[in-house]
């Protein structure tokens, strides 16, 4: 019970997101109307993905420093959940775009950037599976994971700012990659930030379950 407080918190925050997110009064902005509620589901996915991939990279660094294979398993599972978050973010975004931009995929720079980011992390798993030796696999894929994160950040944070986009704040070239702070009115903030925390914690929870499963499955050679 002592260690599960954050799981309870995650569940409570998600229940709050799902109820308050659908019930509160939202401002009507442009052609968004009620679809703005998707903000509580679509945007937290990207926050979650960035945090989970960061955690994955940190575990890769820890693996390289210590040589402990458990860190490599953790890096792998966090990257996997990061990909899951990315797919969910793309899908929720595509649904949103169908009703606001008229089509699910409109080659928006941010859509392209996150699709590429998914490819980068899928390549991480291709790389992992190409090697059979465990230590070698762990070391080589850790190196790739760290390298990939440093490309991933400019890819999603910097490049989309250089071009026009359909996303909020994308009319000028100074736009924020996705979130436009001024559009978020105080009542929406009250749901939005708990949603970000809730979804991220859920991502950590999913990763944790996978990690425990992997540790159990591979305990024969882990010596733990």
């Amino acid at each position: 019970m002592k260690q599960s407080w954050w799981k309870i918190l995650a569940a409570v925050l998600l229940i709050y997101t799902f109820t308050a997110g659908f019930l509160i009064d939202v401002p009507i902005i442009g052609n968004l109307y009620q679809t703005i509620r998707n903000l509580f589901f679509h945007v937290p996915m990207w926050f979650g993905q960035m945090i989970l991939l960061l955690v994955s990279m940190i575990y890769s660094i820890r693996y390289l420093r210590s040589g402990n294979l458990i860190y490599d398993i953790k890096a792998r599972e966090f990257a996997r959940t990061g990909i899951l978050m990315g797919i969910l973010g793309l899908v929720t975004g595509a649904i949103w775009a169908t009703y606001t931009w008229g089509e699910p995929w409109s080659n928006d720079p941010k859509q392209i950037a996150v699709a590429i980011a998914l490819l980068i992390y899928l390549a991480y798993f291709v790389l992992r599976n190409s090697m059979t030796d465990m230590d070698k696999r762990a070391r080589v894929s850790s190196v790739y994971n760290i390298f990939a994160y440093f490309i991933y950040v400019p890819l999603i944070m910097v490049l989309p700012r250089l071009v026009q986009s359909l996303h909020p704040g994308g009319e000028g070239v100074e736009g924020n990659p996705a979130l436009n702070g001024q559009d978020l009115d105080p009542t929406m903030r009250l749901v939005f930030w708990p949603a970000v925390i809730g979804w991220t914690l859920t991502g950590v929870w999913i990763s944790q379950l996978y990690i425990r499963f992997s540790l159990h499955k591979e305990k024969n050679w882990l010596n733990v």
Binding site: L64, I116, L119, I120, A123, V126, L127, S130, M131, K136, R139, V140, S142, V143, Y144, I146, F147, A148, F150, I151, P154, L155, V158, L159, L162, V173
Partner: protein, 220 residues
């Protein structure tokens, strides 16, 4: 600690190998020439934006072929020998420098052949040549570390393309954008400088990452 002497010796060894067994150099040259010739036969002389896109795609494939061999040609035994005479940093710096030089030559050669076959679509020759050099260097830096990774993963050249294509896209997009300035497109004030600096920053970051990460690939 890296020593200039060892780096110079390793660099010279790669250069000597290239000069003595010229099959790779001519092989890549033939690769450039035949790709461009096929493009010429199928497209004739395309308009500027197509020209630009084709050029960078072509450079990407050339880079994969040219840089891949820098690690794939080293056998296990030879790597062990390098390990005993030089440090990881010496080795990666020598490789980075060598691939840098190789891609510089290849980029300029493909620019020459592209202009010869597909026509001169750009309007500012010197500017475009500069961008091409910068582009060739940027691509070669990324692929040097990727070649090292792919070489550790069972010497698999196809793996390098799988890892490399998504990772190179940010730089390739920037390059395609920057090079539009040589085709007469007008940019907002400072936008060009901003993008060039961003590309330079990315290059520096990649070099630093290579220097930090390569020693971990080197140990076995």
């Amino acid at each position: 600690m890296p020593s200039t002497q060892k780096i110079a010796a390793l660099f010279k060894k790669d250069l000597l190998l290239e000069i003595r067994q010229q099959y790779t150099f001519y092989g890549i040259l033939l690769y450039i020439a035949s790709t461009i010739f096929v493009l010429y036969l199928s497209m004739g002389q395309p308009e500027a934006s197509t020209w630009n896109g084709l050029f960078w795609m072509n450079l990407l494939f050339i880079c994969i072929n040219a840089v891949a061999k820098s690690f794939l040609q080293e056998s296990r035994g030879r790597m062990l020998y390098y390990y005993s005479i030089a440090g990881a940093l010496d080795f990666i710096i020598a490789k980075l420098l060598y691939n840098f030089l190789l891609m510089l030559v290849m980029s300029l050669l493909s620019l020459l052949l592209f202009s010869f076959f597909l026509g001169v679509a750009y309007s500012k020759i010197l500017l475009f040549a500069g961008i091409v050099c910068l582009g060739g260097i940027s691509i070669s830096l990324v692929f040097t570390l990727l070649a090292a990774i792919a070489a550790r993963a069972n010497q698999n050249a196809a793996l390098m393309a799988i890892l490399g294509f998504p990772l190179i896209i940010p730089q390739l997009l920037l390059l395609v954008k920057i090079s539009k300035s040589a085709f007469g497109e007008i940019f907002r004030e400072n936008a060009l400088l901003q993008m060039t600096l961003l590309l330079g920053g990315l290059d520096i970051m990649i070099v630093v990452l290579s220097l930090i990460l390569f020693p971990f690939l080197w140990k076995d």
